[in-house]
Symmetry: D3
């Protein structure tokens, strides 16, 4: 029987399936008895799960990040789906089909990495090419980039999400750079799209659950990202025997530093070049299209043309019923 994915589960459905556990907690209810709370996920999404009358022993029998087989049943609670588990036990990795748990399977990640490298190598500016090459040959960094999520929640918050966001933005930048080639330097814009969020590979921890690292919180991905770039610029100058022009360095750093667009969103300076201002709007566009799309796709309010109220963006979104718009 084919696996039922989390996003396929209906109300009142019996479940006996393997998931990845995260965020487990042993909690006391109002009457003082213990229950286990945990999130179960596969590649299609997450479902909050409770197991009543749990014990310390059960709690210690698995770790966050482990594969677990769970028996239980679903129910709608306060407008959202949850599971009530009857049994939870760990499963060895060898018995698991890893593809069920990868939002972005290895082949997709390889394809993304390939497109990323191809776009960078197609730039005309030799200095940018040699800086880009220094990033591409840094295997540890590229490995992290292929794993990191783009955020702790919101858009692209899954393994590989950062790479997916960066490649989507680069492709956008590539088209838009051509559209505005009389007004800005397409290579610079493309390189800015590649660099803007690289600091996130150290800002976020993503071994098991997604959290901000201490450095991520206290220093932030913008400052981290500028340092990464400076290291690669130094390396590129050394390798090519030719210094990268100062102005080019400044323009690149400035795109990282200003890409949030406004001081109140954490950019220490506002965009002061055309490439920087274009990067800011494109980054926002890509983030918003993906997060709106995800909120609509995962909305539990299935019978309504509206999503539930989304406090993060201060509004409901309109889903409507697209089939009725005559677009057959």
């Amino acid at each position: 029987m084919p696996r039922r994915y989390v996003n396929q589960l209906a109300d009142q459905e019996q479940v006996n399936e393997v998931f990845v556990a995260s965020g487990k907690q042993l909690r006391t209810n109002r009457n003082g008895s213990l229950y286990l709370q945990v999130e179960l996920s596969d590649k299609s999404g997450k479902i909050p799960t409770r197991m009543w009358n749990a014990s310390e022993k059960l709690y210690s029998s698995f770790d966050d990040g482990d594969y677990v087989r769970v028996e239980g049943a679903t129910q709608i609670f306060q407008g959202a789906m949850q599971m009530i588990a009857k049994q939870i036990k760990t499963v060895p990795e060898s018995e698991v089909n890893e593809e069920d748990f990868q939002v972005l399977p290895p082949a997709d990640m390889d394809a993304l990495a390939g497109r990323l490298a191809a776009m960078l190598r197609a730039m005309n500016n030799p200095h940018l090419c040699s800086i880009a090459e220094c990033f591409l040959i840094d295997q540890e960094l590229m490995k992290k980039l292929s794993l990191a999520p783009a955020g702790v929640k919101n858009h692209h918050a899954y393994l590989g999400g950062l790479m997916q966001h960066v490649v989507s933005l680069m492709e956008l930048a590539s088209q838009v750079g051509q559209h505005y080639k009389d007004h800005l330097d397409p290579d610079l814009l493309l390189m800015g799209a590649f660099l803007h969020d690289l600091g996130k590979v150290d800002e976020l921890g993503y071994e098991r659950d997604f959290i901000y690292t201490e450095e991520g919180q206290l220093v932030g991905h913008i400052v981290i990202g500028v340092r990464m770039l400076e290291d690669k610029i130094a390396q590129a100058s050394e390798l090519s025997g030719e210094p990268v022009p100062d102005e080019l360095c400044l323009r690149l750093k400035h795109m990282i530093v200003s890409h949030h667009g406004e001081l109140q969103f954490g950019s220490p300076t506002v965009p002061m070049t055309i490439e920087a201002v274009a990067l800011h709007y494109l980054d926002n566009l890509d983030a918003k299209v993906h997060s709106f799309s995800q909120l609509i796709r995962e909305d539990p309010n299935v019978d309504s043309p509206w999503t539930t109220y989304q406090p993060g963006i201060g509004r409901k979104l309109y889903k409507g019923s697209r089939q009725s718009m005559g677009a057959d």
Copy 2:
């Protein structure tokens, strides 16, 4: 001798040339004597001009919008170029080369109109096509659209500027719509790009000088634009004998109503569909790329890598010296 255009004039240069006059005023200086103040323009830009010891008679000898031949000399005053005129007299249209005064010559405008119509007619949704057709056959509206500026100042503030902005945005929307075709409806986004600013053809007056009309100020282009759309929807339903689906109408109106993105920028509602949020960011992107580009191009601070401070955007822009970036 070929004409010297406004943007070619240097300091302390003798001028004897034809311009379009606008914003003429007869003013008194501190000592009580009269002088004339007027702006002179050709297709390349505008130069503020003063003529000392002017008279009522001279002031009445031409109107804003007239072609005038001016003798005088340029100078830098408070960091900007101005002209001191010695003589001003009207010139009949027949003696003028109209091409010297059209930012966008008729051939360009025709090409823009052609691309606009082609993109609209290439949409797949039949309802959108028939609404679009109702706009395209409205000759008075299309005439206005080909004349209107996109604003009183800032980006695209010249005859034909609105058409240029709309077509640029539609081309962008067309590419970006394909890029995100799994997340949004490309036809809707394209139609939104076409519709979003149409109300400006009645918001702005552009016979001679650019001003807001009374309706433009008191009601605003968003409300005007929704009404235009409603008229065309009614017409399309009637012509095709098939009502345009309600949801489609709502989605179109919503894109107009929300395209400023935030209440404080004059949108009565925030974007609540993916197409509406994408339109908002693309509109901002196109406006900012063009206005930053224009500010840099026209900056009088020729020897500095920075523009003068721009109060409208609260910053200086960085011009740098692109030749030094190794991009040959």
Copy 3:
């Protein structure tokens, strides 16, 4: 025995009474058993109600908007009164005293409609009179106006509430217009008070529960209201054979468009005429007096001189104990 109204119920009171049901939901508690949640109302207010151990069958036995007889008992839960129902069953309309459920009984609504028409017909400006008449003879619109609430929550959120707010504001406008007759046009102000919220009859759905319509959310009552006015202006010009002066039309539309006073409250333009700015403050005054008054009247904190904290207005309100102020 006379009926006990919702606002008369005390803690731990046995209830056996007829109510209107709304917002029914069948929900699962933490242990997986089903309960029913519903709001019960009469003309004096609403009480949230739960019925434990409910079934699908019970849930389907009545609809929102039905009259139901409920047996149960009240209790204070988290600072607010609620009811625990033991039995719920529908009651035919014929067995119900409709007056128990009308906040504003038909006679009151007729009186309001009469005062509204009288004030409009007493205006001096013939154009305004003929536009007003076009509204008054539109029976469908006047019917909706007599039913619509003024909002989904907050002030005047009950059937007929919009009419009540509009008439209160018109009476205020009428007095204040006289007070400032040297500074503004009293007829314009009165007409603005009539028009400002008319778009709400289509912005809100109020057949059963109060909700925003899709058009209400995506387009908003301001844009809807301008269109209504434009239709009536066209009709009035046709009927009278005399066009309504452009400036008058603009001043009317501007009052609708700007009545929220600031862009960030959803007005696409700020008030730029004296009548528009006066309308804005009077509308705010009427809304705030009614909502503060209602918050104080319905506050469950009976022993305290303060209401509970009201997040919507960011403060507590002071109730005090007015009897102690020497006003006998």
Copy 4:
């Protein structure tokens, strides 16, 4: 020949008339020669005036506040009317018609004071009546009140302006209090209208020119006003032999303290009673109606339907041409 008032002067008009001088300064122009700058006013308004080639001696020959006879001519300078004086000399008070200089002549001020007292004495609450009486019998305070302007600029900025604003607001409060008598205490609202700005009699200096006093700037009229009220409450309790109830005192002080409505406008607390919130909106209404009206009346842009841009309110105002609205 009847006097030509300041608001009747046209461009290029010869003037030989008596004015009140204020704000005189002896200044140096760019070439180092001296000129005199002064404002000349009568009851209809003010005109900025310059006298070229002035001397220390002329400068010392009159004081701000003196009556001076001026010979000169008007001119439009930078969009506003100004005068170029040829001669300035003082005039004894005995030769002057004082009525030409009083915006509000003594008879008007007496009428205002009479209406103010009548409204206060008509209140029903005996405590409020006895507090009010303590104010009315304080001749020094009432004298100041009849002189003070309501502000240094903006609305009611002329001698007697504070009294005029207070009486207008009290009349409004009186009507509105009746309108809302089911929701609030009309006497409290009326008393609040009387009290809200009383601190301004010490906040502003108005002997000659209008300035903020040091106490006005450093402490503010709200804190000053509360102290005034506390003194009168103590006096009223003593006179009547009966303490004013604490709650009544608090409600009065609260109306003063909160009447600016929001913390960012200088109120240390927001309105938390119905009377306080009503007072806030009525105060704003009266101020805005008067200031918009004055801006429109005094606008120098006589040929335009719009006033000049008003930075204080961030907008232009629409004047239109009311005669065309069919109101005969």
Copy 5:
């Protein structure tokens, strides 16, 4: 056996100890049965407590503020420690060790009062000394000052907290005043530190639980504090036979009125003297150091280098593990 203090209690610990009760409520759970909710405190902190199956009789058997002996057990509930009580009964004061309940024992309070008086008496300005003396000899006021908390929650929210904050700030002001003695008047700054929050002794009620008084809410400690100062100035002038100079009075009042630094934080004026601006920053510094310190000290998240998210300050705080920083 030594007492276990609230901040020493671990999860699942049996408790049989004396506490002070506050905030008791008798509430109904979802099933309609009664439970008691109360907060128990000693000098080390507070623990929320529930007792299931409570009765009206139990609820009436003690009052907020009483000493009660409680038997029960602790548990972690929703990330915070709480207690489930089995038995609660009052204990006579005579059987209680009062020191267990005083955050600041009498000896500490006496020391603080001593330091406060010494600093005030060491000022050089005789006027300030005599005003200060009028405060010091007002025994009722000094008593209140030694009891009042500095706030209802946040920093220094315990009996004596206001005195502790005032003395800490005065000591800071004393050092900083010396550091900047070329720029400001150290005595003024010290006196401002003493005066700035004195109005809080009447703004807050602190007999049993900490609440805002009606005057505190409706008028605010700033206005109250200015009145206190005015009374003492009058008294000082009378006692010394020499009026306090007006400017000195204004400077003192201004420090009280402006010490919140910005209008939106409730100061009716912004700081306009150097002493006032210095006082504002020092007050903020002292409040923030103490509140951050307390949030870190009391954070329940013992295993994490971060505190829980603190909505009041919009951030988490970093605790780290200071032992690892090489500071031995």
Copy 6:
């Protein structure tokens, strides 16, 4: 005859003295004739200067930064002192008394540098000491630090101003660190005070005039400062053979990154440690005390108790007349 310094010059005074020139411009007046505009300074301040009927040759005869002897006369123009020069010629450095031009003479700078080094070397934490030593032995950096101003305008905007601000803040931090030693780590706070603005040595150019460097504008002193610190940490680890603990590095970087206190003031993160929040308030305190003090000291409004309106801080400052406060 002793030199008359800029801040001693009165209106209408004849001047024949040596100054440093800066900001020279050759400009055209309205009539087209040329004049020279330049700022002349000595250690006491700056005076804007104009020379009428200037020539290209004069303009080229000296450079910004040169010593020039100027003959001319002072005058008050638009409320501020300016000079009208008759003659300007360069003076060799050898004929100049350098002390007349140093706000902070070498001896003072040496003393500041000595105090700075002493405070750093007195820290207890060995890691901090060794990092500090790496800064102290970097002669190029220390040289820059002793020259840099703290800003382009506002507080400490003169050569050596940055050092003066840093040392003042360190002394403050040293005292305040002791005051709060139970709550924070005094060494960390002191080190933060030393580090917080170091990036300004590269953000600002100060060879001749004070300007932001391109890196300063496009990247900002916060990002630059973090990089400087990282270099020194690496060097310290290498020199001592012992790595600096990660947490210590993070805490230091965090103080730099967050010292503006709020995102909207350009800090990419808000303070999340006690030392960081304390540093923020102390930095603000020192900046505000110095800038308020300077605005009061240099205010041209000598006869008024108020300074002119200061747009940068949105207020006037109160100067009063301190002699009248009884402080002898």
